[in-house]
């Protein structure tokens, strides 16, 4: 009797919908096909336009691009403006530097690009003149900028002081018409009405939006500032391996489980990461003392910490307390580092490092290769 009942195969072919739901493929039989996971059969439906009709007002977002891309912080500034804008307010984005990405997904309605003025340049008077021209042209209710260290925090303050306008900096919370920011080094939260210039801290707004911006290109500002008082003498680049560990955002660190230092340094170079070491590795003379991470060495705060062959003595773990993502490659699954790590790979450090290098060599596309220098 049971044999007559038709049973559904739990592993029948399916795809994941954009919402994360599992959808079976009707009529198909056989096992689970992993390749279908990677390429969702469902194309995302075009999102509706946020802006309804002709704009009756504007919100201005200004940010510097890097290598033709805005960073996540700038995306958040655009998304924040889009989320706060009324249906009749258009979001104008002024990009300093070239732009090779589509900003509609973040809610940009009008986009003006100033190629050749990216974060590497420094001409605050000229940039201020351009920004002021846009402020005059669009009379925005608010100007949103990421409060970052690639020029926007600087320019935003210059704008506010130049206009004699109220400014809110390091804004950590945005609500319609209101902002909040930390005072007293984080002990107090100050709230107030949203001023003209709003410099936002990272991660204050969600960037996956249910709507889309119009994304029209508009003419960039053309104002010319008189010869300025600032003279840009160019850039100096510090090799990632020479970068102070405290400053590094990605660290590849070696312990006594690493015998082959050149491979480790190659992995670090491929990630554009700084090289650190555990006390034992330093004591063995494999690294200089300024590379030591831990209670007696440096305290680091990288977002990513790749610990290779480090067992994770208490003193070492103290030094990486502030690291956001810890990944461990270790031959011993019971080493203390695995309790701290967000991802632990148990295996021979040398093999995994070589495999990493091979994978990275395969995937490094020419235009992103620069990232890894």
């Amino acid at each position: 009797m049971n044999q007559e009942r038709k049973r559904l195969d739990p592993r029948r072919p399916f795809v994941l919908s954009p919402a994360g739901l599992r959808r079976i493929i009707l009529g198909a039989t056989g096992g689970f096909d992993a390749s279908l996971l990677a390429a969702p059969a469902y194309k995302p439906a075009p999102k509706p336009l946020r802006l309804k009709g002709d704009p009756a007002g504007y919100l201005l977002v200004a940010a510097h691009s890097q290598r033709g891309m805005l960073d996540a912080h700038a995306h958040q500034a655009i998304a924040a403006a889009a989320l706060l804008a009324s249906p009749q307010q258009a979001v104008v984005v002024l990009v300093f530097g070239s732009l090779n990405e589509d900003l509609r997904a973040y809610g940009a309605d009008l986009v003006a690009v100033l190629p050749g003025a990216d974060e590497l340049g420094f001409a605050p008077e000229q940039e201020l003149a351009w920004l002021c021209e846009f402020v005059t042209r669009y009379a925005p209710a608010h100007v949103f900028m990421p409060d970052n260290e690639i020029g926007d925090g600087d320019l935003g303050r210059r704008l506010a002081i130049h206009l004699g306008a109220e400014v809110a900096t390091h804004v950590v919370e945005l609500k319609p018409g209101a902002v909040a920011m930390y005072w007293q080094g984080g002990a107090a939260l100050a709230r107030g009405l949203m001023p003209l210039v709003v410099l936002i801290a990272p991660d204050v707004a969600e960037t996956s939006l249910p709507f889309s911006g119009a994304g029209e290109t508009v003419a960039p500002p053309a104002a010319q500032a008189p010869p300025g008082r600032y003279q840009n003498r160019g850039l100096r680049e510090i090799a990632a391996s020479a970068l102070a560990l405290e400053e590094a955002d990605f660290i590849v660190a070696a312990g006594n489980g690493v015998a082959d230092i050149p491979t480790l340094e190659a992995v670090a170079a491929a990630f554009g990461a700084a090289v650190g070491a555990s006390r034992v590795a330093v004591d063995e003379g494999k690294f200089t003392r300024d590379k030591q991470i831990g209670a007696t060495g440096k305290t680091v705060s990288a977002s990513t910490y790749l610990a290779v062959g480090i067992s994770g003595a208490v003193q070492h773990l103290q030094g990486i307390k502030a690291c956001r993502h810890v990944i461990a490659i270790n031959s011993d699954a019971s080493a203390p580092i695995t309790k701290r790590a967000d991802l632990s790979v148990v295996g021979d450090a040398q093999e995994v490092m070589s495999a990493l290098l091979a994978e990275l060599a395969q995937r490094n596309l020419p235009d992103t290769a620069r990232e890894s220098v």
């Binding site: 989320l83 260290e149 707004a205 093999e351």
Partner: protein
């Protein structure tokens, strides 16, 4: 090189230890003081506010004296500071205060009031005659070299490569000087209301439109985080697991 003929001022504030909240010399201002002392033997070290005990720390860090410009509580420090440093060649300060609002706008406002150029995020400062060259901080190991003519306002970045020394003997020898305020500071009506920071700030999000199942999935997805252990598989698979993790968390861009 020392430039004794230059008038250099270092603006200092009362900082705040992040763990205890105890008043202290603000780290960025200590860097500014240290950088100023490297340029000239005599530096005017100025503070607008009360003669707080924490200012003694600046003596330990090398200030021969700290001149305190009296300021009513809550009043704007700009006017008395601007009046005091008028005529100075170089004004150094920390990029952002540790206590108070810490908006990082004071250097800009001071520069506007004195009609001077202002350069922020300074790591190294070199004087070349009447020109000052500044190495500016940029993230990811980038540095930018900028030159401006004196007089100028320069704000020091927290990562400025200086090693200020706290010396008790200097604290013992130095003193705080009370100076009369040259300009009465206006008491502004603050548009801000401050409260103790207890709750985490809320992230600005689009209104929730997903249906129950999707929201549940989302909730589950955020719950399962970290601590994963990869034991099995080839080295290449393990390498891929690492790269997948890095990509999922947007830690690499390729």
């Amino acid at each position: 090189m020392m430039f004794p003929q230059l008038k250099i001022a270092a603006l200092v504030s009362v900082g705040r230890n992040p763990a205890s909240g105890a008043p202290r010399a603000a780290r960025n201002d200590v860097l500014a003081l240290d950088a100023a002392l490297a340029l000239a033997p005599e530096v005017s070290v100025l503070h607008a506010g009360d003669a707080a005990p924490a200012l003694h720390d600046y003596l330990a860090y090398g200030a021969a004296s700290v001149e305190v410009l009296p300021l009513p509580a809550g009043a704007d420090a700009l006017a008395p500071l601007a009046a005091r440093v008028a005529g100075y060649d170089l004004i150094l300060c920390g990029q952002r205060a540790e206590a108070g609002q810490g908006s990082g706008t004071l250097p800009y406002r001071l520069a506007k009031a004195l009609n001077m150029p202002v350069v922020s995020a300074a790591l190294e400062i070199t004087l070349l005659g009447d020109i000052v060259e500044i190495v500016q901080f940029l993230p990811k190991g980038q540095r930018r070299v900028v030159r401006v003519s004196l007089p100028a306002v320069i704000a020091l970045h927290p990562l400025a490569p200086r090693a200020p020394r706290y010396v008790y003997a200097r604290l013992r020898a130095g003193r705080l000087l009370s100076a009369p305020a040259l300009v009465a500071a206006p008491l502004p009506v603050s548009p801000w209301q401050s409260e103790p920071a207890v709750k985490k700030p809320q992230k600005l999000k689009p209104p929730e439109t997903r249906q129950g199942h999707a929201r549940l999935l989302g909730a589950i997805a955020t719950e399962s985080k970290g601590g994963a252990l990869v034991r099995e598989g080839s080295a290449a698979e393990k390498a891929r697991a690492i790269l997948d993790y890095l990509r999922t968390n947007r830690l690499i861009e390729f």
